[in-house]
Amino acid sequence: METLIVLGSGLAVVFVAVAFIIGIYNTLIVLKNHVKNAYAQIEVQLKRRHDLIPNLLECVKGYMQHESKTLENVTKARMVAMNMSADAQTQSVSENVLSSALKSLFAVSENYPDLKANQSFLSLQEELTSTENKISFARQFYNDSVMKYTTKKEIFPSNIIAGMFNFESFTMFTIENPAEREVVKVSFD
């Protein structure tokens, strides 16, 4: 009789321990998939920006005939960004170059009052601003997801289980080029 009780309680302990481990493992998997999903969202927003730019250039060309250099910069930056989809780091660099080119374009458009009042230009400007914001928020959410996953991976007791099953680490979005931390200087010459 006594051995039965001991056996029963031993099994119960093992059962609870296994359930605990499964729970933590599943949480880690869920958080890891959140990180992957968040990364994919950034790609969605970047592609959207690529698709919007030709419309903007069409709308602007008629008004800004003397600004061929600025328009050329935007076109070139877009081509480079679209082809650089291999590596995450080089991709973010080329995308940041495109962001700066667009900022110059919008700054120059301040000198053209006819363009500023044009309804399609205004709505395109809002769309592009919103797309830039969405890219930032998507990166922000990616960073938040990586933070939650990394925290869960590092705290006790989940770190044991993460180590047992070799969960990979992710890096947050950071600025590689220190010059990008400076305020963007807009010059048109």
Binding site: N118, N133, D144, T151, I155
Partner: protein, 419 residues
């Protein structure tokens, strides 16, 4: 995220359990007294459960209508592009699988609320007055606050708790009118009767107090979420300041003109009011026991005292300003500290400077006019009008019955194509 939300609010769970137990006790006693037998208790339970499910389902299926009546207008990207973009941006920052539906209420009172039992089927409603008052950053702060409610499943909690409170109040009133006499005549329930009267008077009161404290705590948490999503607590703080100024101006105008301005009917129902961003017509500006929302001054001060944007920073600011126990459980705070979410450089300076808060007086008049015209245009567009902005500054509003392909501006005579 679910475990974070639930564990953050052990108090909310205790509150809900307390309310539930109270409802069951009262239902049981009422059933017993009215029917005189033990089965009455069970019947009482079932009736209370039935009422709860009926109200819950009706709220779930007609969320926005349940809360606001019929004066809401559903919005899409064509109607209100800026608002649509703002909501989409915040849903990305919050990690929602699809952005909530957007509704606009045609009133000049600035307010906003969120409904929806689960994040996939949620909606956000703002008033036309809010769109007239706030700029893009502030609007983003308010929308982030509402999406914070959605993400924290606040609506489900507030709705359930609110329904329980209403059931308790209803039962107390019903019993005091009829059941009391029957109870005392049915059995030797003299002591029982006294017990029930005590419960009948204190229960509605107690339940309301618990409900309001639950609601206040959730509002602070939604503010913390807004700061985290936008990374810009000044936005929401500015919005709150502007709304408060607007309310004070309205109160003053009411007093001077002795007329009745638009009252906030939709705010007077406490079930509904808890979901809004600010209460209307608040008399005292501190956290009173009976208010659904914390005082706006406290909320603004906590937001401006933040040094970074994670929960632990909000907690620190909260304890510093309100001198109360921290809102968020220690377990989650400690897990946040390892990875501090730092405020961008420009924002740190803004947060520490109270002058960086926008106010209604400081907004240039042209901006106010422009925003008001934009907000009104949304309502025109929804009715099928085509809005054309002429270069001379005139806005042409063509009714749906206009069939022509071109239109001439009456001021500058420029020709516009109608698309």
């Amino acid at each position: 995220m679910w475990d974070q939300i639930v564990k953050n609010n052990i108090q909310s769970i205790i509150t809900m359990a307390f309310l539930l137990v109270l409802v069951l006790i009262m239902a049981g006693i009422m059933g017993f007294c009215l029917l005189g037998t033990g089965e009455g208790v069970v019947i009482g339970f079932f009736i209370a459960l039935f009422i709860f499910i009926a109200l819950y389902l009706s709220a779930k299926n007609n969320s926005v209508a349940f809360f606001a009546g019929s004066s809401v207008v559903k919005c899409d990207k064509k109607c209100a592009p800026v608002l649509f973009n703002v909501v989409e941006e915040m849903s990305i920052a919050a990690g929602l699988s699809n952005p909530p539906e957007i509704y606009i209420m045609d009133t000049s009172i600035p307010n906003a609320f969120a409904t929806g039992i689960c994040p996939e089927k949620a909606s956000v409603c703002v008033t036309r007055g809010l769109l007239e008052l706030l700029d893009r950053n502030e609007l983003q702060g308010v929308v982030a606050h509402e999406i914070g409610h959605i993400v924290n499943r606040d609506i489900r909690y507030i709705l359930s708790a609110g329904i329980l409170v209403s059931i308790i109040a209803f039962m107390a009133r019903a019993f005091s009118k009829s059941g009391g006499r029957r109870c005392s005549s049915n059995n030797s329930g003299g002591a029982f009767l006294i017990l029930f009267l005590v419960i009948g008077i204190f229960a509605p009161l107690l339940s309301r107090l618990f409900y309001f404290s639950l609601s206040r705590k959730r509002e602070y948490l939604a503010d913390a979420c807004a700061a985290q999503f936008t990374r810009y607590p000044v936005g929401l703080a500015s919005a709150l300041k502007k709304i408060e100024e607007w309310n004070k101006l309205q109160a003053r105008r009411k007093k001077i003109a002795k007329e009745s301005y638009e009252t906030s009917e939709f705010n007077e129902n406490p079930l509904m009011a808890a979901a809004c961003i600010v209460p209307c017509a608040v008399k005292k500006d501190k956290d009173s026991l009976f208010s659904t929302h914390p005082s706006t001054t406290n909320r603004i001060n906590v937001l401006m005292a933040m040094t970074s944007v994670d929960y632990s920073s909000y907690n620190t600011a909260y304890t510093k300003v309100t001198k109360e126990k921290p809102l968020i459980s220690n377990r989650d705070v400690s897990s946040c500290k390892n990875h501090d979410i730092v405020l961008p450089v420009g924002v740190v300076a803004a947060v520490n400077d109270v002058k960086s808060l926008n106010s209604i007086k400081d907004t240039p008049i042209e901006e106010k006019i422009e925003r008001r015209r934009d907000a009104e245009d949304i309502m025109w567009k929804h009715s099928g009008y085509i809005i054309i902005n002429c270069d001379c500054g005139t806005r042409l509003k063509l009714p749906p019955s206009y069939k022509g392909k071109e239109v001439i501006c009456p001021h500058c005579k420029k020709n516009h194509f109608v698309n």
